[in-house]
Symmetry: C2
Subunit: 364 residues, 2 copies
């Protein structure tokens, strides 16, 4: 059974050029004397930009040979690559559709250089019109290596419960493409304290802001009835759903006890989060603990959780350990192996790759 990484990002060379041409987040800047480049991508990183903020960025982000080498090091047979955040969210609406098309062509061509080892989630021009987005979704469905789209939580700037997205969901459902829903915007800095949590580096926005953003976004989709309207819409949630597996019970309880929703008759006849977790939501296994992994499996089923690495983010800070393996990857491997008993090899194989091959149709 192959090992498949469904959470693995790239900034293709054309996207790197965009980042290098910009001076507000997201951007890349080189600092003398070494001229090493640093990436500033999170809203919380804007400003300041100095050599001690942001993070190093090198060819692991744009050179596909480094992706393949990383895969070989970690015994990953297939990667489903996706543009890293913030995708084309910031792009002017005039050029967004053309940029998306060029990026998707680029991704598809990259996959074609390593047949059977690479597939991709395409990018959508979220600043363009619904018609242009739908046109790109239809185009993606005919591309050899494309298996869905990567999307942030912003939608048209007002979140994923925006009814103007109906046409987008309908097109994705109709073409059977999975949405890989990924955070980027986090939470307003003030929630981390008077300094915005700066004294803790990027820990608070990455460890908490990202999963909380995802949880809010998917809860708003649920509450606004996206999955009541599009019962076949498949959404893969980054970072094992943010915190959704743990909070699903509280979410259902708060809905069941909400006076306003009750008075408006919105509690009955809705699909519950439990139903959607088992039929529409896929979870990656990027949760870094056995406890989290078990919760993800408990809510979605062992046949709907999929291994991922988040490469090239979270590289080792120290010299690599044995065989150059990354701690961020081995932590997730270990969680999967520890979560199951000796009689559950099939489940482990499913999580590591079988589920991805089946659910995303990863055959050339």
């Amino acid at each position: 059974m192959p090992i498949v990484d469904i959470h693995t990002h790239v900034y293709p060379p054309s996207y790197m050029q965009i980042l290098e041409s910009r001076s507000t987040v997201p951007y890349v800047r080189s600092f003398p004397p070494s001229n090493s480049s640093r990436l500033f991508v999170l809203p919380s990183e804007d400003p300041p930009s100095t050599t001690s903020t942001g993070r190093p960025i090198g060819p692991e982000y744009y050179d596909i040979a480094q992706k393949i080498a990383f895969m070989d090091t970690h015994k990953i047979d297939i990667s489903v690559i996706s543009l890293a955040n913030p995708w084309l969210d910031f792009f002017p609406s005039s050029g967004a559709a053309a940029a998306a098309e060029a990026l998707n062509n680029d991704l598809n061509a990259t996959c074609d250089k390593f047949p059977g080892r690479l597939f991709a989630f395409g990018a959508l021009p979220m600043s363009a019109s619904v018609e242009e987005i739908v046109s790109k979704i239809k185009r993606l469905s005919g591309m050899k290596y494309m298996r869905g789209v990567v999307m942030g939580t912003s939608g048209f700037g007002k979140g994923l419960d925006d009814e103007r997205l109906n046409g987008v969901w309908a097109a994705l459902e109709e073409t059977g493409q999975t949405v890989f829903l990924h955070p980027h915007y986090g939470l307003p800095k003030e929630v981390y304290g008077p300094t915005g949590g700066e004294e803790y580096g990027l820990v608070l926005p990455l460890a908490l802001g990202f999963p909380l953003e995802t949880t809010i976004a998917v809860s708003r989709m649920l509450l606004s009835g996206v999955w009541d309207r599009y019962q076949g819409l498949s959404v893969l949630l980054a970072h094992s759903g943010g915190t959704l597996p743990f909070l699903a019970g509280r979410l259902e309880s708060c809905i069941a006890h909400d006076g306003k929703l009750h008075r408006e008759g919105k509690i009955a006849n809705r699909r519950t989060v439990w139903d959607i977790l088992q039929k529409n939501i896929l979870l990656d296994a990027v949760v870094y603990s056995e406890v989290g992994l078990k919760a993800a499996v408990d809510v979605a089923g062992a046949d709907r959780v999929l291994f991922g690495t988040d490469h090239p983010f979270f590289p080792p800070l120290e010299e690599n350990g044995e065989k150059g393996e990354w701690l961020s990857v081995t932590t997730n491997y270990k969680a999967i192996k520890d979560a199951f008993g000796p009689g559950e090899v099939e489940k482990v194989e499913g999580l590591l790759g079988g589920n991805a091959v089946r659910l995303l149709r990863l055959e050339v």
Copy 2:
């Protein structure tokens, strides 16, 4: 083995008078023609205030006889009552210490009317000076029914990683009192969308904002080294830790991969979240799902998770079911019973009451 509810709130009559005298959150207002009272307590409820916002408030909040009746209905032997949010956080500093003392006297006297059935977490005057707070902590430690303090996430207005709180932590550690850490402030409304999530009633702030606030607060305590300095400080986290059990792995991974913390030498020699979860943190069992309950038990141990109800919040919206039991309570009972096998009766009994009796010394 008794059943103990460690998460159960009151607004004593003197506190109700304060709420009724105010016109900004938190406050209570009566609306004609029925003159029924409604409570507006969350930052997100200010403004507006109409009969369709806020929530009904009646004697279940201030009449201890109703607490005892609720306990009897749900077979709860002992309750550890605490002032509901936002405690005295909003109180002018000049009168805060006296108000805390009066409230704590009131709570202790209330417990004394039902010996063996009621204990309490006291209130602290967080707008007063460190010296005054420490004085109240010492006073509480000598009061017959007091077993700790209830506290929000604000501290002196700048969060719980504020070094000015050192004296408070030291006094709590020294007197062996548990901090019941409870959310109130949630997240800025804009994270819930253009309308602040109003269309979903109070679901988003209560289901997500509350647990996310708790998670951020405890993560900041951890990162700022509170438990490195006060290794005996015991903190009971509301709502099973917010989302901490699920995110503990990601938090540790983000710390281990943070360039800034690494450069500053802050990664080595620190206590990990796993260590603190097993030695300093207690979790309530107010998580409304078997999945969440299992995750709480996995991180803290079955001997450190404690049953709670969140009464009088989350009352049934419909007519009560069998024997007048509350859905919000039976959901948590069921989660505890479902999470353990037939050979684990001792663990179930521990969660339902044994742990609380042992850890909070609930003997008269």
